[in-house]
Symmetry: C2
Subunit: 217 residues, 2 copies
């Protein structure tokens, strides 16, 4: 369902050319659970942003369900991002002036849901934050931020879950609960892609893609 063909992403800093992705090919089938591993700075987040339709490659193609997403209109891309994909960002990206509940509600409001508040509350209870609904990000611990970001990614019940280091700020028990949650979703047919630095999380996935200097090895 997700296919990358010769993806290239280049950043320029003055005269320096940085090949964040240097020709990446891969295929992920519907319902798979895949881990992406690799050293810091190797291109994992860059790849996730392209798969998540948040960024375009400089060359190469990304295909979702066989269709080249670079042919999509801006509206169709936004709809894919909002309804088909749930993205857990490495740095969470919560809106600082909204409470946890309002942050998680937001994707449902965009999608036009009428029961957004109830579903958002449920998602936060699932990650153990039922007692923190009305806290703003500045009033939450690091691991609580991370769990709000996870709840927000899952609340729209997306087909594809992209999680960029979802357990980095969680103690082992909270981390296991999150992995169990992903397992349940995977058992229901959701496609799960997890970038992780944790061996236990990576080994938990049937398949692993290793990235090094912008290439898959």
């Amino acid at each position: 369902v997700i296919r990358g063909e010769n993806l290239v992403k280049i950043y320029w800093l003055g005269e320096n050319m940085i090949r964040a992705l240097d020709g990446v090919d891969f295929e992920i089938c519907a319902g798979e659970k895949v881990a992406i591993t690799g050293p810091s700075g190797s291109g994992k987040s860059t790849l996730m942003h392209i798969i998540g339709c948040l960024d375009l490659p400089d060359s190469g193609r990304l295909l979702l369900g066989g269709e080249d997403v670079s042919t999509y209109s801006e509206n169709r891309l936004a709809s894919v991002r909002n309804r088909r994909i749930g993205f857990v960002f490495q740095s969470f990206n919560l809106l600082p002036r909204l409470t946890a509940l309002e942050n998680v509600e937001l994707p449902l409001l965009y999608a036009g849901n009428h029961d957004a508040k109830d579903r958002a509350r449920q998602a936060l209870e699932t990650v153990g934050l039922g007692h923190r609904l009305h806290h703003e990000p500045a009033q939450l611990s690091g691991g609580q931020h991370q769990r709000v970001a996870i709840a927000r990614a899952l609340v729209t019940n997306p087909d594809i879950i992209l999680a960029d280091e979802p357990t980095g700020n969680l103690d082992s028990r909270a981390g296991e609960e999150v992995m169990a949650l992903f397992d349940t979703l995977n058992a229901h047919g959701r496609t799960i892609v997890i970038v992780t630095h944790e061996q236990l999380v990576a080994q938990h996935c049937p398949r692993q893609l290793h990235i090094h200097d912008g290439k898959i090895r």
Copy 2:
């Protein structure tokens, strides 16, 4: 050298009272290496901010070298923070409009150093970022952010290093390099306090303080 006596920290949200620290007593000797562990939301970062003189307890005392820091003037507190303590924040807290080099240079400029740029460059090379000196935070990966935050905490050569989850975004190799760096500093007499969710990091420390619901157990 660091002593906490019955530290209490309370947050109010409307009528809800949150006991982030609920009477914490502990002592850390000069030159020790101590890990602080505990579930997400248990009060670890709150405790670190009080130890680092970034925050005051609501009751109880923090003593550095036997002196109650609540008796210090604002100037003396700032001087302690700048020269005696190096703090690695859980969410890095880099200044977004400065490059990596400028971010790391900043504490040295405050302290009046004339060789700030050279020392900052060296600190960044030590954490493997010699090739990223002129990138701003938005142009760095998550683990690169974390390593800039570590370099900044160490560049003033502080007596006390407080690291709040310093390896959460690092692959195992980069994480080991950071722990080796802390070991070297500890061998030279620096006091090291590390909040961590990683078992391997915690077991690496001769002593561990476990926090649960704002109390040490």
